[in-house]
């Protein structure tokens, strides 16, 4: 039993070390090699296209359910549904927007990245990169890291917009809150710092997803089965880390008054 836990911790430490080594290599090559624009743009487009539909759908319904819950609860206490817009937008922009987007992006784009790089690893294509004058860091990791850093904030804004629309639909048609009041509740109480709060989170999630998914891909061993394992491993790890990080980021950012 202890042996098993020890083994798990050992492998966790080794993977963290491996990922750190990869980031060191990213920093090393960042200034020393030609930037792979084509790869970066292709990846950004692929991440965006892969994830925007699901992001929109999940955010829409999350906004809707938030409005419904808020409206009902507040209605029960105060007799009428007030501040629905405020509650929906605060929850979305500070928390759920980045978290939902992160979960969707890791399930769609992150998994695709791990599967792709993992397949390259088990078919010696990563080795081939070294022998043809480049390496996996330069050719694969850096473009993907930038692609995630660019697309995640954009997708998060996208998610916020759909969530707010979802909330509006429920507020206006199920709760009878006039649209004017709903949007007024949002603009009166939301500030730039709330946007910053969500924005910083989405950046950090993007960095984490790119790091975990690329590292899991690069360290894949053991044929097709290995690729499958690496991919599920990457998705589980990123989703757990998103939720854990989200708590600590909220704590830290609010401590700094953001």
């Amino acid at each position: 039993m202890f042996k098993l836990i020890g083994k798990k911790i050992d492998s966790l430490l080794m993977q963290t070390g491996g990922a750190a080594e990869m980031i060191r290599s990213v920093l090393f090559w960042l200034g020393r090699s030609r930037f792979e624009w084509k790869q970066t743009v292709e990846q950004s487009v692929s991440i965006g296209v892969n994830s925007c539909g699901v992001t929109a759908l999940t955010s829409l319904f999350t906004g809707m359910v938030l409005a419904l819950q808020a409206g009902n609860t507040i209605g029960n206490i105060f007799g009428e549904p007030i501040f629905v817009g405020t509650i929906v937008s605060f929850s979305l922009i500070r928390e759920l927007g980045p978290v939902l987007t992160g979960v969707v992006v890791s399930g769609r784009a992150g998994a695709a990245v791990t599967a792709h790089i993992g397949t390259m690893a088990v078919t010696e294509q990563l080795d081939a990169l070294y022998t043809l004058g480049t390496n996996p860091t330069r050719y694969l990791v850096i473009p993907r890291l930038f692609a995630f850093l660019i697309t995640m904030p954009v997708l998060t804004v996208f998610s916020n917009v759909f969530g707010v629309i979802g909330g509006y639909l429920v507020a206006a048609y199920a709760l009878g809150v006039p649209g004017e009041v709903y949007f007024n509740d949002i603009t009166t109480f939301m500030g730039v710092k709330d946007f910053m709060h969500g924005f910083i989170k989405s950046f950090i999630f993007a960095f984490m997803i790119a790091t975990v998914c690329c590292y899991k891909g690069i360290s894949t061993r053991g044929g097709a089965e290995g690729v499958g394992k690496a991919t599920t491993g990457a998705v589980v790890t990123t989703i757990v880390l998103i939720l854990v990080l989200d708590y600590f980021l909220t704590a830290i950012l609010t401590a700094f008054g953001i």
């Binding site: 010696e124 294509q125 080795d127 081939a128 070294y130 022998t131 004058g133 390496n135």
Partner: protein
């Protein structure tokens, strides 16, 4: 000239290479024979540091590649080598043409406008024509190997490492590949290291054969010496018999 001195490699507790000593001469074809899992790929991957050796030295023109610790210097050493991977390792997200042109951008001064010309030329060198637009998944085994070889040739390496170039091919295609390796030696004067367990191919192309067994080079010599050897291990391997001193560990690993 590549000198491999006391090379060791273990994966965890498993000693794959125990003490490998071998010289590879410029402009010659050196074949490395050995059974599956004997560490042949591991050996040549150590040469280009795709795998880190656990001990020993590898001198390339007098310089020990195992001691290089700068990634930039390592890249500079790697550019002397071309590596033909066992299953081709073609990038499956690219066409054949893009695959062959891949190294040009990083390792040569060829302007991008000339890439199609170079690609055509290198594909012709391996006997292929009008395949640029195909995807790697559309190629047969023999074609994959040849496209992969064209990709290696595009960057003009001084030394080509072939990992089982004829494995999995029919006898005729195997012979075509063997001819190609000989051809490249004569035309371009490249140094070749060929890993194989195809005896026909080895006897046909090798200037020198080395037999890797249980982590050591058991015998080293010309094809003629291998044909006439009394060494029971080598004899068994050359004749391809299941009876002899080499016992396959069927139950183990």
């Amino acid at each position: 000239m590549i000198e491999i001195i006391d090379l060791k490699k273990n994966f965890g507790p498993k000693q794959v290479l125990k003490d490998v000593n071998l010289n590879i001469e410029d402009g010659k074809i050196t074949c490395i024979l050995g059974g599956s899992g004997s560490g042949k790929s591991t050996l040549i991957k150590c040469l280009v540091r795709l795998i880190e050796a656990s001990g020993g030295k590898i001198l390339v023109d007098g310089k020990d590649v195992t001691k290089i610790n700068s990634e930039v210097k390592l890249a500079a050493i790697r550019r002397h080598f071309g590596y033909l991977f066992q299953d081709g390792a073609l990038f499956d997200s690219m066409t054949v043409g893009e695959n062959v042109a891949f190294g040009l951008k990083y390792l040569t001064d060829v302007p991008p406008a000339d890439y199609p010309k170079v690609v055509k030329e290198k594909l012709a060198l391996v006997g292929l024509k009008d395949v640029e637009h195909l995807n790697p998944s559309e190629l047969s085994g023999g074609m994959r190997k040849r496209v992969s070889l064209a990709r290696v040739l595009a960057v003009n390496p001084k030394c080509i490492l072939y990992d089982e170039p004829t494995t999995g091919l029919d006898p005729i295609m195997s012979d075509i590949i063997s001819e190609l390796i000989l051809d490249l030696k004569h035309k371009l004067g490249v140094t070749s290291v060929v890993i194989t367990h195809d005896m026909n191919s080895a006897f046909k192309i090798a200037d020198k054969i080395a037999f890797l067994h249980e982590g050591r080079i058991l015998m080293e010599g010309t094809p003629e010496e291998f044909r006439r050897t009394d060494n029971p291990y080598v004899k068994q391997f050359v004749s391809g018999s299941s009876h002899g001193p080499i016992q396959m560990k069927i139950m183990k690993d």
